[in-house]
Amino acid sequence: MKILVPVKRVIDYNVKPRVKADGTGVDLANVKMSMNPFDEIAVEEAIRLKEKGAATEIVAVSIGPAKAQETLRTALAMGADRAILIETDEEVEPLAVAKILKAIADEEQPGLVILGKQSISDDSNQTGQMLAALMGRPQGTFANTVEVDGDSVTVKREVDGGLQTVKLATPAIVTTDLRLNEPRYASLPNIMKAKQKPLATKTAADYGVDLTPRLKTIKVAEPPVRQAGEKVADVAALVEKVKALGIA
């Protein structure tokens, strides 16, 4: 079984995003970029399934600028076998991403597509579900545990009240939640080896997908700032304050 793993290049998890002064977006110039953390978990899960013998090949895909090659090389260094870059300098919305991924899935015929549940940039949490709908296949979103068994996959999902387990017929789509696994770091020899692994570059036009955005961004602003209040000296003073709130 082949596993397709889409990965996105986003602002690094540890960098505080700054809104551009002209309100057109978030400033990405000279900012450290990395693989979306949920996508790292997706790559890791694919590798673990391959190590367990449940998968034979891992194909990483990224849709983004030429520099997204670095993100794909990271996936290759972690253990993906080959990579496809759909190069574009446009910002691509989840619906268009899902359409491109659907076209790639038609070509590659993966048994599983594992994606991050959301990117930490746009926070949309849509792509996996949209891809599943376009493919007419089932989805296991917000996965906590993934078990492949023949032509089905059992996914334990993190839901609001706790956990829910669903059984899906493959091909299936899985989106990762935080506790699915802890992604490995790529070793230096593997980073070197990754440079030799195949990476194909294509465009959205190759797949006949229109990237015109459906949402127009009118403006991007800083959120309202919350002011710090006061510090109290001791527990007795805190007790007074809490009682004054009328909750105790």
Partner: protein, 309 residues
Amino acid sequence: MKTLVLVEHDNTKVADATLAVVTAAGKLGEVHLLVAGHNCGSVAEAAAKIAGVGKVHVADDAAYANGLAENVAPLAAALMADHDAFLAPATTQGKNVAPRVAAHLDVMQVSEILSVEGPKTFTRPIYAGNAIATVESTDDKLVITVRGTAFEKAATEGGSGTIEAVTGPGDAGTSSFVSSEIAKSERPELTSAKVIVSGGRALKDAETFESTITPLADKLGAAIGASRAAVDAGYVPNDYQVGQTGKIVAPEVYFAIGISGAIQHLAGMKDSKVIIAINKDEDAPIFQVADIGLVADLYTAVPELTNAL
């Protein structure tokens, strides 16, 4: 505009998350509801009483019993032939179903809206709430998820909606429900609680979390939350997590105990009315958003507070 709101429920009662969505939908136009479930008559009756509700579409079929997105999304998409906007709560259930509906309709979803600015214009958080984007949809139909804390809850009484049975494509045959582990608790639900007591990594282990946080929460009739660090460390289950990738909460009073205040956590609770922080590090970022702060060792301060209340 005619809107269709996905009712969240457990086949017995309407989940609170639905009520804020009804309010958001009311800002766009007529509010119709979709109850997809099995033996869910009581849900339909309760839904019809929500203030401001028109028609309640009820699809009662075993295929919809567990809300599987593969089965519910085509049903919702078919009903959208007669509606202009589909709205769902930004809960795990809403997030699971809505994008599938959007893809069926070839529409770009607007996720987790915070406000309705115009018939097709909304604000939504991006970058873990570090920026707020105002976006306008150019699609003919709208698909939206709604952040529950950003809208008032519609009243659960006063409406007189008409219940109408509908049928959908039924079981897509690609997925099945196996089991669920849903914690039964006497406590209020995290996303609708008036008071929340949350603990962080400083609680050391599951036993210390329980023995320190629970008595205070019991005293205040509060829900219990946790930071991602505390969940990752296994002190509490995943559904306790408050933060950008966990639950978004906005109670009257939020206690952050031994929580440093990572940006991810703040994104999930900074709309709380009053934030009270107890932390022994006086430079912890949580104090920059706290209304009332106490720099103290939580192991002595929290029991002392609990006893004094």
